[in-house]
Symmetry: C5
Subunit: 293 residues, 5 copies
């Protein structure tokens, strides 16, 4: 995630870090060159059929409708991913507090919270599909990572601790509910990670965008002349740029510049649980060149 | 569901798998041919009444409004269906953990979870209206499938196990709440499956789409000439294509290419419950030619 | 509610059942005749002031904004009504299961569920403002229906059974929470039934629609000539049709073709509760000429 | 709140009760007169600069965006206010039922419910900022109304009754949760009442509306001539009317014609609680000339 | 937050307090001057390429789409922030009432609520990133503020009081759930404060806005002449103004004029808790020149 103050005018216009421009430049250039070629042919070789801009109005409305929908859907996925992780942070803190209240034995509490930290890292690895070697050795063992579903394995181990350490029905209920709440947020994250936006939208949107950018020169040449490629470039920047942004936001757990900072949030949880584990508090992660991983 | 990486340019333009194009091609062709016929008549036989594109602007806005609404409503149904199944996955895992904590007897636990797996398959069969022979014999018996509502039958059987096996009030409360939570997600799925989008919208939208595609040549012929059928083809592709996509998404439990992968999610639940049932973990389902059933 | 497969092309264009066309035909005809009259006067009697279509663009945007808002609000009311009834179905099933777990005496359980079925029918009668004679005699007595608020009366009677039959605090808590959850869904339905969309919107929308349809001929006559009444007819169909549809959807508990099938849902609940009451399972309601009441 | 059947054509066009027209007439007249003046000057005195309607297209889109946003936000506040009161109605009924189940002593129950009715009236007075003399003497004493926050005072008194009268932990938990749920709905209502829509939107919207209505004659005069003031009047009616409607809906607890019927809802609660208090059931409030207070 | 009655006509047009105009004036002036310069060059020096307004239609739609999305997202953040604080207010009041019911010892109760007030102030300081010297000394000690995360520290201290003072499992469950609910709202606020809207949107929106304002003179000059800078000024006011407003609303916990009144809400909580702490009730905060901090 890019963490940056409100940009000034110069930054806005020339900032590259965090912008999609570098990624889409070839496609924008291609579309612009195509438009310029059409204008050149029209002026020098052979008069092409012209049309006014009216048919493009509805075309543009449809395109806006598609992109508006996709943008909302992608941002909702991103924001829901963040909400679920926010819930996980709160649940982890509350698990530690519930343990203070309901689990009398200090060693049991430490075991439970250690497993919880293992869970959150296993969950992060699972969402980002990272290899086992990316796992922090102090929280996750080799054996954990070889099970079919490591985050569930850790939650099952936490369940065993609760079954053994809870002194009465109240404690069992409180801790079982907390683990259930964590499992619900976990399943929510997995839902977002495994269920992309329907593929058919990608086809519809990209096809419509390219058709639009390829045909609009016929509607603009008459009045805009050599300004035509400029307009086409801007529209390609807007439409292809937005399509690209939504592609990143729709996968909020990826390691892209617009992905959620899972590493930093795992660290936040470690900081919150440190006093309950009688451990030194680690330092929060800092953004590196505006990027927080 | 189609599982596919972000498509490249060529795939985007020529991909057929997962596209609605094959399904709507006859209708698009018909509308395009009609437009071409009008242009031919206009140029060679008899001058038809022409109009400029202005009246179509509002027409197009209304059409966008309808399609935008329908698209949002359909996608919401699809995504809510997925959310409910995500909740079922989480509830199934939590049921297994609750059983570990609250049910002392191992055989009772196994009975409960076996019934739960029967429930989830009966629920899947019910949502997809599959015949009994599609039922997995190890989880569902002939007798189960002959009851008036097999998923409810399985939940009732689970209730009997809980009533008999729960050692105290805490256990009864915890397991009854979990079954209630499963029943709520089940009823949500049945709501989506049995309550289509109001039929009147289908009529309004399809009628408006065909009227629009049939009339717009009168507005374009003047300026676009023989480009008219091209524009009509594109608009028909966009509007009929979107109408078709929303039709599929509005029935998220169907076995269409855009339906939800219920088989794969049932398998995910089997994988999650395997360690609690001391069973070998089955392999996750894989997409077959990008399609996950 | 209309239950119908995806309509074919012919059905789409000529279907009357479920369409709003018959209802709005007089108004559409009136507006169209007015437009035809204007064109006739303009061509034969006296040249009327003409204007181009530009001022209607913003007009149309405003109209779309109103209709889009109203459409969303109406559909949300309809879908929320369905959600609340889905929740009632789930709660009724869970009440039966909770009773199996928490109420030891079979006769008490039967009493509780009989009252629950009385509640759901009283709730249906109340929402649809049906007379007492529409009440099913096996679930609702004359006396019940004479109380100031029959659904609340039945819930109060259920409360008395719980207070008398629950053996311990766990049972009291579980059943009281279930009744509270039912009461919440009930109050939600009553909210929708008693609080219409703000009246002022009806005025704004209908006035704007008629002004628009009455003025647009002045903007179209120049270019569209005798096609003007055709366009006006289509726009009147779209705008008045949508206003009419939203009127029906905004009252989801009415007995209109787009109302929710409360009778069928009450039957679904009876089917679900039959095994718990040791009664024969009734048959589900079927749609009659595509209409499910 | 206006309670009225679907209006007929005549009512729609000439209804004044519930319409915003009387309130905005001076402003609409002023804007219209200004436009008429411009046309007169243009035709008779001095040719003003003309422009076509194109620049107003985007202007109009921006205005629609503002008004659409504000309309949605205002209606959401209104509907959320109604939802919270619906929840209060359900919670009050459930409180009465919980008391039947968990509080063994009839006098304690009566005390609790009497305080609850005091709370709901104190809450209503607080939301509407009514003076003490508007308080119903049978539910609220002078002393109650002199405390810093009367609704909280009543909830605190209810808490004291619960602390004294609950026979066991189950009862304490059930009643404390119910009071907490009531307090949550109360805080939600206070949130809506004390936090208006950001003031800056009012400025942006009103300024844009007046600028638009003041400038659009320059774009219409050319083609619309003396129809210009008619169009301006209609647009002013739509835009100022909508701004005014949203102003009322954004304050849902006010005593305006579009405000929520808090008096009637308090009466609904009194009706629901009467049988639990062994009191005669009061009559429901009726709309007075279509207005329900 | 600006607290002000519905503004009159004069206030609307000339109000500065609460308006974004002063902040964006330089940028609006710059864009306007650029447009005026272009018109001057076009008329006096060298005829620039002209285009009609059609290409700007789609451009404007895209811009509206961006701004509409951003406006909704920013307002949602602001309103969600307010909802979370409303929930905190309700939870604080309910915590005090739960303590009355479940904690028998008065000193324990006072300790718990004193810590709770410390939490809410620490939470406010944390959200606003205020220095320690801004902390109210009666609720927060030096030591508290030196811990890695002061709000969590206070919640941990509250947990310790609960673990020590709760007499039975019911009390432990009730108070642990309340603290968990507070922690959830706290994490929600921290989510909003630490996760800005994706940076890439800022780039896309600002770049598109400036490109639009810089290019639109070429489309307007032909018909609008010297009215061009007027239109450009208005559009710049609308688009840059909205971008600025959303920037403020997207950071709801800042101390801007549109930020949420955290100070006033902390005071509301102090007022609500005063009777439970047997303390004199403080006066509510008042707006200072319409501004409530």
């Amino acid at each position: 995630m890019i963490i940056r103050d409100k940009p000034g005018l110069l930054q806005l216009l020339f900032s590259v870090r965090g912008s999609v421009l570098p990624k889409i430049l070839p496609r924008v250039a291609f579309v612009t060159a195509f438009a310029a070629g059409l204008v050149w042919v029209d002026l020098n070789v052979l008069r092409l059929p012209h049309t006014n801009a009216a048919p493009f109005a509805v075309f543009g409305i449809a395109l806006s409708l598609f992109l508006g929908f996709r943008n909302n859907a992608a941002h909702d996925r991103w924001w829901e991913g963040r909400k679920l992780w926010g819930k996980l942070i709160a649940d982890m803190r509350s698990l530690a507090r519930d343990a203070e209240i309901f689990v009398p034995d200090r060693a049991d509490r430490h075991r439970l919270l250690t497993l919880a930290l293992g869970f959150i890292h296993a969950h992060r690895l699972n969402l980002r599909q990272l290899p086992s070697r990316a796992a922090p050795a102090n929280w996750l063992s080799e054996g954990d990572l070889k099970t079919p579903h490591p985050p569930c394995t850790k939650l099952n181990q936490m369940t065993e601790v609760v079954a053994a350490a809870a002194p009465d029905g109240f404690a069992r209920r409180a801790l079982a509910e907390r683990i259930g709440s964590i499992a619900l947020a976990q399943a929510g994250c997995e839902r977002i990670a495994t269920t992309p936006l329907p593929y058919v939208y990608s086809l519809l949107i990209f096809r419509t965008t390219y058709l639009y950018c390829g045909l609009i020169p016929f509607g603009l040449m008459d009045t805009a002349g050599w300004l035509t490629p400029v307009f086409v470039a801007i529209m390609a920047y807007i439409f292809i740029g937005l399509a690209e942004v939504t592609e990143e936001l729709a996968h909020p757990f990826g390691e892209t510049v617009n992905g959620l900072p899972l590493d930093a949030m795992c660290r936040t949880i470690e900081i919150s649980l440190a006093p309950h584990l009688d451990m030194p508090t680690p330092a929060p992660l800092k953004a590196d060149r505006f990027y927080l991983s």
